[in-house]
Symmetry: C2
Subunit: 242 residues, 2 copies
Amino acid sequence: MAQSIYDRWDFFEGYSQLGRSVEGLAGAAEWPALRSMLPDMRGLRVVDLGCGFGWFSRWARERGAAQVLGLDVSERMLARARETTFDEAITYEKSDLEMLSLSPAQFDVAYSSLALHYVEDVARLFAEVHSALVPGGRFVFSTEHPIYMAPTKPGWSVDTEGRRTWPIDSYLVEGRRTTDWLARDVVKYHRTIGTTLNALVQCGFSIKQVEEFRPTAQQIADRPELAQELDRPTFLLVSTGR
Amino acid sequence: MAQSIYDRWDFFEGYSQLGRSVEGLAGAAEWPALRSMLPDMRGLRVVDLGCGFGWFSRWARERGAAQVLGLDVSERMLARARETTFDEAITYEKSDLEMLSLSPAQFDVAYSSLALHYVEDVARLFAEVHSALVPGGRFVFSTEHPIYMAPTKPGWSVDTEGRRTWPIDSYLVEGRRTTDWLARDVVKYHRTIGTTLNALVQCGFSIKQVEEFRPTAQQIADRPELAQELDRPTFLLVSTGR
């Protein structure tokens, strides 16, 4: 994440219009599933990796977290997070997850929402997170699903019989992907589910739950555009324990 | 697996022609990766779930396993396994994995190659395997990858620019899939990676390794048709511990 895509005006403006930016956690379809993986926040020390506008950091405090450290590489995101946070137990700091450095055993929960696919060296990051957690600590995160990430030209296709498909190629060719989401030439790093999970296990994490996010029937009734998620997942949610 | 597809003459004849049937383990591209997940076999008690022609059961004994129980639902597969096995420490028994029942704590290793995608109730099976293993035992298996399984019409497509793709739909719609592989109307059960792993964790297994099988450069040089595997995986390999 040497590039902070969120500091590019075109990406930032586009991102700021998304439901999840305007409505916060309630605007993110995968949030209820991710939330269900989290422990009771009361009294816990929490680090929010890629905190963005600070929605989760504030939520954790509202649910009783003792203190929250929100980290992000984007100055613009951090500025808005600080403007909208009035809580001395929440601290925001600039940090590039690619070079994250945390003191050992100072957090009970590490959380990350949709930031890890911008990180090239995820094994290094996982080792750092593992070290920063106390024994029994939890690391819960979402990332873009590799089925969503893999294609050299991501996009829907409709076949001659009207079947909507998501054509995959290069699924097992991991590494850099350049896409035009919100802005041109956004760089992300594609990894298989196996690679992500093995990197966690190799650091000492135990895998507790893996969800390839599927919207509920109620969510689809409320937002019919979510039905296409049933054809291919966008989000991978993982819960691990130290 | 109420239906034993392997006992249908058309499927059996087709299956018998495959490289993995003629050459055994050496004919299966994913075997070296799966083998690397297995412990040293010496002195271990092994159960082979869906043993087919008995290739793995014999391999395990050659590597020093104390005893091997090969289970399969197909009478024809078992008959050929028995015809080609001359070892009193290997026993073959008819068993439907859908209704598997094993005595507790009698095996050190449970192994299964490409059988689980025929099983509808995999949570029940995993619980039975967990119970049949001693503490510290290992359960290592391969199954068809959900990307391979998911489409309502599985098959390659070539787009207008010559890009080979594997169009996915219904990835998050789990359950029955009927395909025409080797024979018409072969029934399999599609599950996401998350569903498989969560079922294992819920039984008490710890996830040790997850591989979405990628052929090596040498394998592709030797068998150029394997290059298409890089576009979409066929096999999911999982190593767990009790």
